[in-house]
Amino acid sequence: MVNLFKMAVRNLLRYRRRTLLTASLITIGVVFVLVFLSVSGSFKAMMIGQITDSMLGHLQIHRQGYVASIDNLPLNLNLKPPEVRKVSEALDGMPGVETYSPRIKFGGMFSNFTETTNIRLNGIIPEREFKTVPLLPSRISEGKKTLVKGEMLLPALLARGMNVKVGDPVVVVATNQDGSVNGKQFIVAGILEGVTGPGGRDGYIHLDDAVETLRMREPEISEIAVRLKDFGRLSDVHNRLSGLLAGEKNPQGKPLFEVHTWEALSPFFNVARMIDVMTFFIKLMLIAIVLISIMNVMIMAVYERVREIGTMAAIGTLPGRILSLFLFEGFCLGILGAVVGCIAGSLLLWILNLSRVTFDFGQQKGLVLAVSLRPEDLLTISVTVILVSVAASLQPAWKASRMEPIEALRHV
């Protein structure tokens, strides 16, 4: 084995320029994939972070059927206090959960006393909400970054359209669950930018104000947003929480609660998936590069060494050994390309981090691109390149091993 390896390396060194060119091609492919993977991965992680940490939370729990009619903000599908207690107990006992925040969501009419428009409001407990979605305060572009009873955080779109400023009084009129209409006056405490831009009609008020506006006897919660200690365990916590709450049934015997990850709640999940699909195709391109370049170089190697193969076969080398020799050459080329590519790619990403490239995402300006490379990505790419290199050598190696020695020795 060692001797086959030694011979393979020497054969590669014998055609230095060709080996160098092929290894360079593989290296460039590996570097390209690593950079794309890291940059797109970092962008994706940042984007998901923005969505979950400033708006959605990692998980949300609703009454069964709420999400299907979420655009209507149905008050009759809110969670009653005993149900909220059950969810709270489950969340308090779940080790992966960092914190959670109950919300009352409802639609209403918003007036600046001269004009009226519609608005969506989130009744929150500010301290808990700011812990669950810690980037929320950073979205407050004007005014104070807190919220107390009697105050409202107004979406920028409405504030500009209705010419409302921080400190102005406004009125919210809403219909409660039994159909009666109630109103309440608020002071604008801050202007809230949307996650991806100045759009959005979601304002925030205190949970107690929402209870008062909707004339609820006790808080009836529309959704509970959950923040996890480790985002990487999202799927695990989701499964365990779903399992835990699945036992709670409504009078019809159907599950009472539904648990959704951010993926099921945000259209940005599709963008994230698009990035994954693009990454997959970039990887396919790398495989194609490696496959074609190695196959080409190995076909050439076999063609140029027909007499040598004939000699080896004549001496008594078994076909399997000749096959192994050429597979080893492909293997060594793959290792060379993968190792150099991984080193060069890591170096390039390190330089990229040092140069602190910035970009904007929605209202977030000057975000620093912090690329990182996961060891498992390095390993996956290296193993893929090496396996594809061996696979690409298989056909030429097979051809070499099946050559009739007499024909090979006659070859000019």
Partner: protein, 234 residues
Amino acid sequence: MSLITAENLAKDYRTGEVTVHALRGVSFRIEPASFVSFVGPSGSGKTTILNIVGCLDKPSGGSLTVAGTDVTALDMKESARFRGNHIGFIFQDFNLIPVLTVHENVEYPLMMVQNVPERERRERIGTLLEAVGMADQRDKYPDQLSGGQKQRAAIARALVTNPRLVLADEPTANLDSATAYAVIDLMKRMRDERQTTFIFSTHDQKIVGEAEILFWLEDGALREVQEKGGRNHG
């Protein structure tokens, strides 16, 4: 018992519609430790006989026993094993493996074909390289050697497995006269020391003069068998 027994060996090649009869019922016997040459003009069938005896090719008809084995019945893998264990080859163009040193070229059949342990390999290679006068060139690559040195290394490679038979196709064709005689002397000495049978195919009068048995071929048929004492060359 003869080392090689050939009965009515025939070999036909088809080229399109034309069939070429390269061998037409050739029969011969070769005893162990012989120094034999097949001689004849181009196309007479010398190389074809060597290829068939060396299990590199199959006859179209007849029977052939080499070292007690019916080699016509061997498949590709069995042929390779048989060659590796019983036959050494010396080629006109030396055919050393260019990425291996002289030592490694000689080591190749022991290591890659016979799986001989390293210590034994070292001993056998050392002895042989001394015998062929290549001990001081052991670390050189083929492209650093002269034609005569390459052929000496090739002889060492052919003999290192202690084969019963060495087949040499025009082994002196690419060598000057003095080197050719030196190589022939070396092969004869190896025959004497190791009792290895050497079979050549050649037009080279130097080998013809040194061979002890000559098989004269013409148009694929054996015309004459000439046995002689050989001549000493100084």
